[in-house]
Symmetry: C2
Subunit: 285 residues, 2 copies
């Protein structure tokens, strides 16, 4: 480290590990009614968005997360037409979802409009589908939105939230998952970001337990690299209403997908059908 270098380091208490990036300066900062949003520029990672001191995304590496929270669940559902994204204010998940031509409507409901405004300004590539006629952007309470959804009206719910503290705390409990369960059709699927599968397996177990109390019967956790999150390895957890659902996916459709990805492939998805042994053991699979 040279004397002129400037590093943004996030010390993450729950994993006892830290992640950081060499930055060139702070570009912007806003205190919304819900949280503090900061934008930094970096030497190697493009722009960084930090919310309440937690790294949310970088220009360089956000594609891992946005692809993996979108494409596996959409290729697992037989025919997803109606998608709801809770959180996801940076709009990167919405962009991936709308790459699927079969999706007829995708509603993104984030409580904090400022996240989207900052993303439009500093991560415009993530917002390039915001004008799609199938997109609906709401700035409202995701818990209330799901509670008020018409029962059996949604194919896929994507919970693209911050960590389970602060504004997102209400997105990790039985009451919220009950709303998701009710809103989903019988073959509907829920997917939620589920933190580090190396260091935070207890959190994944707790989340699955809460989903189970709400009626979900089958679960699948998919790991993927995410350099800007603690441990560099992250996960999403899928949930189905059906007993013994195997989470097999439309492999031929995925292999012939009519859009580009940087990380996701049908091959990769197939390789995730069996969990790493230490993850399977910890989750009792």
């Amino acid at each position: 480290m040279t004397a002129n270098d400037n590093w943004y380091i996030e010390h993450f208490e729950p994993t006892g590990s830290a992640i950081g990036f060499r930055i060139t300066g702070k570009l912007d900062e806003v205190q919304s009614p819900f949280q503090k949003i900061e934008i930094y520029d970096s030497t190697d990672w493009g722009k960084l968005m930090v919310i309440d001191g937690a790294m949310m995304l970088t220009t360089k590496d956000n594609f891992f997360y946005h692809e993996m929270i979108s494409h596996p669940v959409l290729f697992t559902h037989p025919n997803p037409k109606r998608v709801v994204i809770i959180g996801g204010g940076d709009c990167g998940t919405l962009r991936e979802v709308l790459k699927h031509p079969g999706v007829e409507k995708a509603t993104q409901c984030d409580i904090d409009e400022q996240v989207t405004r900052m993303s439009e300004k500093y991560f415009p590539e993530l917002c390039e589908r915001n004008g799609d006629p199938r997109a609906e952007l709401l700035f409202d309470d995701g818990v209330a939105y799901m509670a008020n959804c018409e029962p059996g009206s949604v194919d896929v719910v994507i919970v693209d939230s911050t960590d389970p503290v602060g504004p997102a705390e209400g997105l990790f409990n039985k009451a919220f998952f009950e709303s998701c369960f009710r809103a989903l059709k019988d073959d509907g699927l829920l997917v939620q970001q589920s933190e580090s599968p190396l260091a935070l397996l207890e959190l994944i177990k707790d989340m699955r337990a809460e989903m189970g109390k709400a009626g979900f019967r089958s679960f699948k956790t998919l790991p993927f690299p995410q350099p800007c999150y603690p441990t560099g390895w992250w996960s999403v957890t899928l949930a189905s209403k059906r007993d013994g659902f195997g989470f097999g996916f439309r492999q031929a459709d995925a292999a012939a997908k009519p859009f580009e990805t940087l990380y996701y492939t049908a091959h990769l998805h197939a390789g995730l059908e069996v969990a790493p042994p230490f993850v399977a053991r910890a989750l009792g699979e």
Copy 2:
């Protein structure tokens, strides 16, 4: 971060990113003729080994690397009996290699005996196969060892080295790869740790180019999570003497392997047969 916390942070210039761990203290330190080896204890990651300021391994996460540098190449070779490990002084790779019952002899040649002595003391689980009658531990120059190997005598060469600076610099060039090429049988395979596939793709291209100058004809880079290395995502690169070698592996043998792993599975390996699109594009595949 509370005032009482103590963090070991590694700022890695080439990727502009940093990785760190919450430590409880330094347990040991030795300056060998080649490098400085430090051992720390941590709150969540067990013990850490740091060489010349670079994080080498932690108790908690070293299994990713040791499994992925060993099992994919050994299940890709049709019948590996004679294995040479260059570097690998912590003995974790040797342990994985010797899990394969078909391996008749595995020679580990690390220039620095102190790495092995420190590993025996602080990572004894990695050294549990050192007494296997098939194991040979040498403390010598790996470049010279490969140069003096009997031509066509080796099935698999594993280059388990530090970064391409300092003592390991000579393990990343044409002259060394020519020795490996000569020592390997016609169906022999070389595998080498090849740094971050997210941030250091140029290094992987350069390494493949040097291997190519030495006569290797086909290459395959496999990514895997490695939280304690820069970007948290790492890779190994396999090389074959054969034109158009596809790196298909003995999937049935891998699925029926007579030993435990924490991360590697035949399913995972199959999922890696197609590279992530952005990696494939950068490597011209």
